[in-house]
């Protein structure tokens, strides 16, 4: 089960992911990112502070946006990942493909740098 909340801050869309992302709930994550892109946000931050677990399907969602966001020049930065979660990203080699920061302020800073 996952709960996804979106709020806007300083021109960035912050998607907060709460709970666990498995094959079925990954659709919600996909929808949230798609909406954010569709609404024209130029910076996307994903708040993973409350993300307990992510399955390969959930990782697939992040992966699927890498190219599209790069083409559209929209930086997506993940922050607040738990060690276990970041480990999952790491094993798959996804950590080097995504922008991951420890805190929100760092994530915001990185997003601002990237969007220039």
């Amino acid at each position: 089960m996952v709960q996804i909340k979106r709020l806007q801050e300083a021109g960035a869309d912050i998607i907060a992911v709460i709970g666990e992302i498995d094959a079925s709930s990954s659709i919600e994550l996909d929808l949230a990112i798609a909406k954010s892109v569709g609404e024209g946000f130029k910076k996307i931050l994903v708040d993973c502070t409350a993300l307990e677990y992510i399955s390969s399907a959930g990782l697939g969602v992040f992966m699927s946006y890498i190219e599209e966001l790069r083409d559209k020049n929209i930086p997506m930065v993940l922050f607040g990942l738990k060690e276990k979660v970041i480990n999952t990203f790491d094993i798959l080699g996804l950590a080097t493909l995504l922008h991951i920061c420890p805190t929100k302020s760092e994530a915001m800073k990185l997003a601002n740098e990237l969007s220039v």
Binding site: A57, S64, I91, L94
Partner: protein
């Protein structure tokens, strides 16, 4: 059934016998009284026989009419009318006979007059009883308990009056008045039950009026006949059965006429409103059609057509259209007496005037948009009413009804059609739910097939070598996963191993697994460096995998000549390696992105080849994340540490025994054999 028929015949026979005795005894009594003789039969005989006749005939009609459920109201009236017709014809034939006889001795004979009179009386009783039984059916239509009791009381009173007529008990005046009063109230109460009239349609009402009118004529005619017959006989003698003294017949005739008149008037006054009632009935039928369409294996389309038809006929719309967004987002339009272009014009006109109503699917309210229509030039319509069709709280379409009259729709119509629209929504929802259920069933079937495919993709036999032995274990959850492992001999001194995990589940996972198998079997033979293998595999998969799918894999080439393993890890779980000499185990966490993560030549930068030498006793455990992520009751994961620990415990055993131990440990940990992910592991143990 047979019993019933026999009873009917018995009743008829009884009534005939009774009547014959009645006729014979009455004539005898009359004759004796005229001659001043003591009659051969007792004087009470005719009355008793009349009673017997009445009772037998009553049962005859009761059995015939009451048991027949197929009769409708006009049929009942028709039966009474037919009885009346037959009896009247018989009576008229007799009259003609008397007329032909002229003033002969026979014609003026009192005995003959009595004979004719008795026949007429019997016919009258016949008619009255037939009518009584039919009236009972009509009055008791949609009966209440109370009404049924009143009728039973009425029946009983009729019976007592019949007995009273027969034996002639003397009753005091007060009691007589009281009984009359009760009877009067009873008659009026019973006659007020006219529910059946409402169920007649316009044509049936006219038929009923005609039939009732003719019945009145019969009644009048019979009364005239028996009255004049009785009058003639009375002049000569009073020693006969005079119906005018027979309260039962009088009362019955009164009741039949009263209810006949009531019915006649009620039907007459109901004539103008019958179309309204018919309309209501049609609405109910339409409503039923919509709600039943689901059970009769019809499709969504037929629900839309029924909705359109029913709505149009319920509110007398001149035209209508129904716009629906189907499941696959197709726009469909159903029209009635309006062209699609015309409908489009009206829509566009409303949109242009910025009217936010039902016609744009954002609204969920029924709206009367007539006032906006007045502005549209060149349209023949002056009223429009629009309804949303809602399925699962989502508006999927609009029903628009049009009239050429201004202010053509009233509140009542709005209510009816909105009920139709709601019901249609429910029907559609049911259809879609059923469709989903079918899909689910099909999906499960597909999963079964996928599982079989997946199982068949795994190798039946693993490559063995004097240098090492390989054992593997794989179990999958109900849902098919995409775990894959395999071995392939490249040449005398080289063997390739692979373990892979396809993201996602179900048929697609099994499908990608088979692709991975194809890639492994073709590329592994090419003597490729593991990095190159991964690079080519990534290239091959780039165009096969869905946007959000990827495959994690580890590829190994064991070189028995050089005693080393060259491998590449593409996002797969790090391999657990146990060095016998050092007595320690560790995970080979090298760099590497999963296949499909980077879908261009850049992938080269995200993958590398590594090398590790092996010695006798070294053990390598390949596994998928199902094992390390397996959870126990407390929600803890099996994890890397427990896996390494388990391996350390059995470092000296054979590959097969190690596999068995690891599996046992895993199942002990989770506490159940019901796994919710795929477990796959492959153990390589080096011997030399």
């Amino acid at each position: 059934m047979f019993k019933n028929k026999a009873l009917i015949r018995l009743a008829l026979l009884g009534s005939m016998v009774a009547w014959l005795i009645l006729l014979f005894s009455d004539v005898t009594v009359l004759f004796s009284s005229m001659q001043g003789l003591q009659p051969d039969v007792p004087e009470w005989m005719p009355r008793l026989m009349l009673m017997a006749f009445v009772i037998c005939l009553f049962y005859y009609y009761k059995l015939r009419v009451e048991r027949d459920d197929s009769l409708n109201f006009t049929d009942l009236l028709w039966k009474v009318f037919a009885t009346g017709l037959i009896t009247t014809v018989i009576s008229l034939v007799l009259r003609l006979l008397v007329f032909l006889l002229g003033r002969t001795a026979l014609a003026t004979n009192v005995i003959f007059s009595d004979f004719i009179y008795q026949i007429n009386l019997a016919l009258l009783v016949n008619f009255l009883l037939a009518a009584l039984i039919s009236w009972k059916r009509l009055i008791l239509y949609q009966k209440s308990k109370w009404l049924l009791r009143t009728w039973l009381a009425f029946d009983a009173i009729l019976f007592f009056i019949l007995i009273y007529d027969t034996i002639g008990i003397s009753v005091s005046d007060t009691l007589r008045i009281l009984i009359n009063l009760i009877l009067g109230i009873m008659l009026i109460t019973l006659s007020a039950n006219m529910r059946w009239v409402a169920y007649l349609n316009f044509r049936q009402k006219w038929t009923s009026l005609l039939l009732l009118l003719l019945m009145f004529f019969y009644l009048a005619y019979f009364f005239y006949s028996v009255e004049s017959g009785a009058e003639t006989i009375t002049k000569e003698s009073t020693g006969f059965l005079d119906f005018r003294n027979h309260l039962f017949i009088i009362l019955l005739a009164l009741f039949i006429s009263l209810y006949g008149i009531f019915s006649f008037l009620v039907i007459l006054f109901n004539l103008p409103t019958s179309s309204v009632f018919e309309q209501k009935l049609e609405e109910v039928v339409n409503f039923q059609r919509i709600s039943q369409s689901i059970q009769t294996e019809q499709d969504e389309e037929s629900v839309y057509n029924i909705l359109l038809e029913s709505s149009v006929s319920s509110v007398f719309a001149d035209a209508a259209w129904l716009e629906i967004t189907a499941v696959n987002n197709d726009q469909k339009i159903y029209t009635y007496k309006i062209s699609e272009q015309e409908a489009k014009n009206i829509r566009e006109h409303l949109e242009k005037n910025n009217i936010r109503g039902v016609l744009d699917t954002g609204s969920e309210k029924t709206k009367n948009l007539s006032k906006h229509l007045a502005l549209l030039k060149g349209s023949r319509f002056r009223s429009i009413l629009a309804f949303p069709i809602i399925v699962k709280e989502e508006t999927i379409g609009t029903l628009a009804l049009l009239k050429e009259l201004p202010d053509g729709f009233n509140k009542e119509m709005t209510r009816i059609v909105s009920t139709f629209a709601n019901q249609a929504g429910i029907s559609i929802e049911n259809f879609r739910l059923m469709e989903e259920a079918f899909q689910n069933a099909r999906y499960k079937e597909e999963l079964k097939i996928a599982k079989t495919v997946q199982q068949s993709l795994l190798p039946a036999k693993l490559e063995q070598d004097p240098d090492f032995e390989v054992a593997a274990f794989s179990a999958s959850a109900d849902e098919v996963g995409g775990d894959y492992y395999d071995t392939l001999r490249i040449d005398n001194s080289k063997v390739a191993l692979i373990i892979a995990d396809v993201s996602g589940k179900g048929t697609t996972a099994a499908f990608h697994m088979s692709q991975m198998k194809g890639i492994f079997h073709s590329l592994a033979q090419e003597h490729l460096d593991p990095k190159e293998f991964m690079h080519r595999a990534n290239n091959a998969l780039t165009f096969c995998l869905e946007r959000n799918s990827f495959i994690s894999a580890s590829f190994f080439v064991i070189d028995t000549e050089q005693k080393k393993i060259r491998y590449s890890r593409a996002g797969h779980c790090p391999v657990l390696f146990l060095q016998a000499g050092e007595k320690k185990s560790f995970y080979l966490k090298d760099k590497g992105a999963a296949l499909g993560m980077v879908r261009n030549h850049n992938y080269r930068n995200h993958i590398e080849t590594n090398e590790i030498p092996y010695q006798a006793g070294d053990i390598m455990v390949l596994y998928t994340d199902g094992i390390t992520e397996a959870k126990n009751e407390k929600g803890e994961e099996f994890g890397n540490d427990r896996l390494a620990q388990a391996l350390n415990e059995v470092a000296s055993l054979s590959a097969k025994e190690i596999e068995d131990h690891l599996t046992k440990k895993l199942y002990d940990f989770t506490g159940t054999k019901n796994i919710n992910d795929d477990y796959t592991s492959m153990t390589v143990r080096f011997k030399i």
